[in-house]
């Protein structure tokens, strides 16, 4: 996954990590979120004061904590892939055990992310804010709820990966499924990396 685990640093791999189908999904998701980001920023132009005032309702601290959580969980996932790539040749059982601990830690952080988002949504809804309140909240709720669903899907994928790890199912030759899940999770992280400054900070 990371360059640290690539045996030959001079040659480039002919395929990205994981199943190629996930990369089609990743590119489509990038396009979809890219259009939503454009919708947000160009809508903002027509009513800057409203967007700036509405943004004050959001909790920047929870946005930052969630950024920290996703970055750290992504790091844990890279460590899980590394564990399999580096150790599985010699000790497959031990490699799977170690990787499963990294995956569980990442899942735990993913759950905290969801918990914070639920708390944030309940605060927003308790103020009587809905999708139709104004353009800012329409985009905010659409973007963050769509992202929320991606995090949930990521956790479901990791749960399945974890189940296979418990059976020591990943080896040096067969760990494409793990890399596929990892690539998806990094996409979720990448999207949040743009979403956080755009919606919470930029004014």
């Amino acid at each position: 996954m990371s360059s640290a685990s690539v045996p030959n640093l001079t040659s480039k791999s002919s395929h990205p990590p994981g199943d190629f189908a996930i990369w089609i999904v990743i590119y489509v998701e990038l396009l979809t979120f890219g259009l939503l980001f454009m919708g947000y920023i160009f809508s903002r132009r027509s009513n800057v004061e409203l967007f700036n005032a509405s943004q004050l309702v959001l909790n920047q601290t929870s946005g930052f904590v969630n950024t920290f959580i996703l970055i750290t969980s992504s790091y844990f996932i890279v460590k899980a892939v590394q564990s399999i790539k580096i150790m599985a040749k010699e000790q497959q059982e031990k490699a799977n055990l170690l990787a499963s601990k990294w995956i569980l830690s990442a899942m735990f952080l993913g759950l905290i992310f969801l918990g914070i988002k639920v708390w944030e949504f309940s605060h927003i809804f308790s103020l009587g804010i809905t999708l139709s309140t104004n353009s800012f909240f329409m985009f905010y709720l659409m973007l963050t709820m769509f992202h929320f669903m991606h995090v949930m899907l990521g956790l479901i994928i990791f749960f399945n990966i974890y189940q296979k790890m418990r059976l020591h199912g990943y080896s040096l030759k067969d760990h494409s499924g793990l890399e596929t899940g990892a690539s998806y999770w990094h996409l979720v992280d990448l999207l949040w990396i743009v979403l956080f400054p755009l919606v919470y900070i930029l004014r």
Partner: protein
């Protein structure tokens, strides 16, 4: 580099912390927005290169998310900086 991955993680956290601190400042000058967008560009590239592992695959696979980042951040900057008419 032995702790390359840890360095990447720390860089990502530090850049995010700077973004958060900028958000806490009441007066938000234009310079902040430039720094914020540049920081986002760097973070995105670090994730695609080192977490997604695209630095070690053929350029065409790396180019798509890199172009996406560049285009999205540039358009955000354009929409942010272009003069607009205030609505009343």
């Amino acid at each position: 580099m032995k702790y390359k991955l840890e360095f990447i993680w720390l860089s990502l956290v530090t850049l995010s912390l700077f973004a958060y601190i900028m958000g806490q400042v009441e007066y938000f000058p234009k310079l902040f927005s430039i720094l914020l967008l540049l920081g986002t560009l760097v973070k995105g590239q670090l994730i695609t290169d080192y977490f997604m592992g695209l630095k070690s695959v053929r350029l065409k696979y790396r180019l798509i998310p890199t172009l996406w980042l560049g285009i999205v951040i540039s358009l955000i900057a354009v929409a942010y900086y272009l003069p607009y008419e205030a609505s009343y």
